[in-house]
Amino acid sequence: MANTFIIAKKEMNSLFKERTLILAIIVQLLIASFSSLLVVGLASFFDPSALSNYDEKVANVGIVGDGELRNFIEKSQINVYHYQDLASALSDFDNNKIDGVVVIPSGNASGRDLIRIDVYLPKSDIRGTFVTLQLKKPLEDYENYVRDIRSPRIGFEPVSLYVDAVPKKTSTYFEFIYGILIPLLVFTPVFISGGLIIDMFTEELERKTMELLLVSPASFGEILDGKMLTAVLIVPLQTFLWLALVSFNGVAVNNIAIILLLAGIIAVIVVVLGAIIAVKYKKRLIAQYLYSLILILMFLAGYLFADSPFNLVTRLSAGAIGTEALAYCAAYAALSIPLYVYLKRMKIA
């Protein structure tokens, strides 16, 4: 046992000396910033209120013709320009004076036919996106207006729930932060540790330093345990750092202790798996290759069912589940035992 700790201490020192951990943290920072950039960027496209960052706030849209829809568009925040005919509107559109043209149809809500609206937008252009978003609201209002008149004809009744004082709401950010970002931050260190144990092990084998280690008082089992201990221990440390950082940014993370426990348990599974691969295949090239394949498989499997570690972290951090999650932790812990037993029975030949 004492030898295990000596090995673990040695590995820990080399991790800090090579500053590899710092790189790992930068990697996670990059992943986090990319994924949040992606969601913030894309979400802001779907949430016109986020567009106030840009200089052009209001879309200029040309309208051709007259009808019910006209009122809906004029009531919205869009700058409306009226045109006599489509050709003059399109000519202004081509000269960048307006960014969209709507042709208002003559049909109305009380009619029986479909109401077809022609919309002209600039192709492959950020302004096309802005116009789309700003037109969406009045068009949707109009759709609801027409539907309210027509759907009773066929006896349709919408589900009606009401709420006092509707707050400005979006679920995109919340669901992204708890559904994707936090699980990713929690499990990236786990995946890194799995690769780490393979590197620690295959390096000793390929440099032939394992033979030297084996003549020391430490047994092969102790060397294994020491290395795995290091790889597992750094996981909750990194995870805690991330969760602290996320909390610091104003995101409330619930059940931090249980999340750390779960991350640690999953780390045991992944690290033991990495060690089995390393002991079996001995060469870094092959071991890392197989490990990456298995990683992809585990990643996909993680999205297959509701009680997967990913979703548990989501629910734990959002406070939708509490100590009940300990039962799942126990189940995952039980899963690691046969793997560990299998590893311990392997011989280094």
Binding site: S14, V27, F34, F93, L114, S124, V166, Y289, A320
Partner: protein, 583 residues
Amino acid sequence: MDLLTISKWEFRKTRLSFSLKTRVLSVIILILIGAASFFVSQSGLHINDNIYRVIVTDPALLPILKTDDKFDVFVAKEPDARYMFKQGGFDILIIGNKIIHSDSQKSISALDALDKTIKKYDEARLLSYNDLNDTFPVWLNVKNIERVQSFQPVPIQKLPEFEKGKENTADAPIEKPAVEKVVSENTQLPSIKDFTELKKSSPLQEQTLATPSHFNPPIPFKSVVLSFIFIFPIYFIAQFFSSSIMEERVKRKGELLLVSPLSSSQIVLGKLLPYLLITLVMVAGMTLKLGGSPWIILILLPVSLMFLSTAFFGAIIARSFKELSFVLIFLSVFLSGYIFFPAMFANIHAISIISPITLVVKMLENEPVSMSEYLFSTTPFYLVSTLVFMFGIFIYREEDLFTQKSIKGKLLDSLREFIARVPAPLFFLSIALLPLAFSIQLMLIVLMFNVPLRLGILFFIVVAALIEEVVKSVGIYTVFSKKIAKVSTANALKFGILSGAGFFVGEKVLLLVVVASIAGSVFGSVMGIGLLIFPLLLHISSTTVASLGMRYLGTKNYLPAVVLASIIHASYNLYLVRGVIFG
């Protein structure tokens, strides 16, 4: 013995590492991955399952809420329900059909999710009536018309070419016939099938027919995911390449090759060849299978070179397997961000063409890709990967491969080799490192895009200046710290001028190749497009400041010297774009 012999050896070595057992095992895992992704595509990703806890008093609401896995629903009688809600742990309480929520972020976002679920539920019911005229009465015919793309609404300096292009198209007659043709194509009435297709396809492609609630801007998710499949083999093969190089270093087998009559560049290129070929074959296979254009291979060639070159360089500078892993993870995350993030904005914004993947996405969506777009997005990749290989080859020698030198030491070694081998080294070193600076700056633009514009430009100016100053002065640092030339004022001045002028020349040459819409933007003007004499003076004077700083403060004070130079550089650029930031 020649380069091809090395290639053959390398190929055989890697192939032999894959025993029959390994191959069988990887096939099994691949099949399992296929099965798992099939299940995921069938049942959807289980993200956010049971994240919201809701209490209802009306049991009829239960089946409606159960259509969305996000809700964990409890049914209770009114007084109990109110009591439970008060106790906490629940996000929404629905008494009868009245919703009660709290002010917490989670409760408000649950409200939005509830809204969406009910909308979806109603839509599904409406659809079952099979009567489009009364259920989905409003339809949009969307016509996307090509206009001249503008990079930013506030261009301050435009290159003449850019303006000319704009005028030409503006002068051209409006293509009315084309518009009318589109109208005639779309006159058939929409059907239920159109609606189900709408739900499936959005937001993957540009829409031509939509209902208002499904009217969304185009975001090429599907094509980006598809292009990820193209990149996938490249990650693996780059891993193999670096593993093989590292293994030779660790086992010291590479020493034998070094004493052979072959030059180190022949050895390295010989080793590279099989990996590059396999990558291209795999990419070609994917293209064939997924039915893309063969041009995709040409777009992914520079991307493959980039991954392989960084994998090679990582394997040369790392001291251990662990370090190699981290260096490679870091580089591939960085590169993936660079190539995939802009691609998400394909068809939305002109900036997206800085990534070659955008071109792949465009090709997958059957859109034309022009030669200038190809040059613009791939030139930095070709140049940077060549540069990385070159610096790697410089230190592909005994003293760097088989010793435990630090990463910084090895980087300095490769710079020193450059200085020793190239005439007028400082002039050309600035030019050689320029694509690297250029690529990092492009990456920065991408990152800046979600920050408010003014703040983004400010930050970009400062960091871009720092990057350029480091690139220009790192050669001088090497010369002074390794005592290659005498540390004197005359030398400091001379090196500053050479280095600054080199960077200036390189910048102009590079821009001739890649002049694109970016030149007209605010970011473009910061990157020194426009006036000629001032940028030249600026590059020379700021580098001279750094150089003199090292002369008088010593090379250990490199950092303050380069920061001072960057401040001068950044203030000039700030002055240039003052109109945008302060006006």
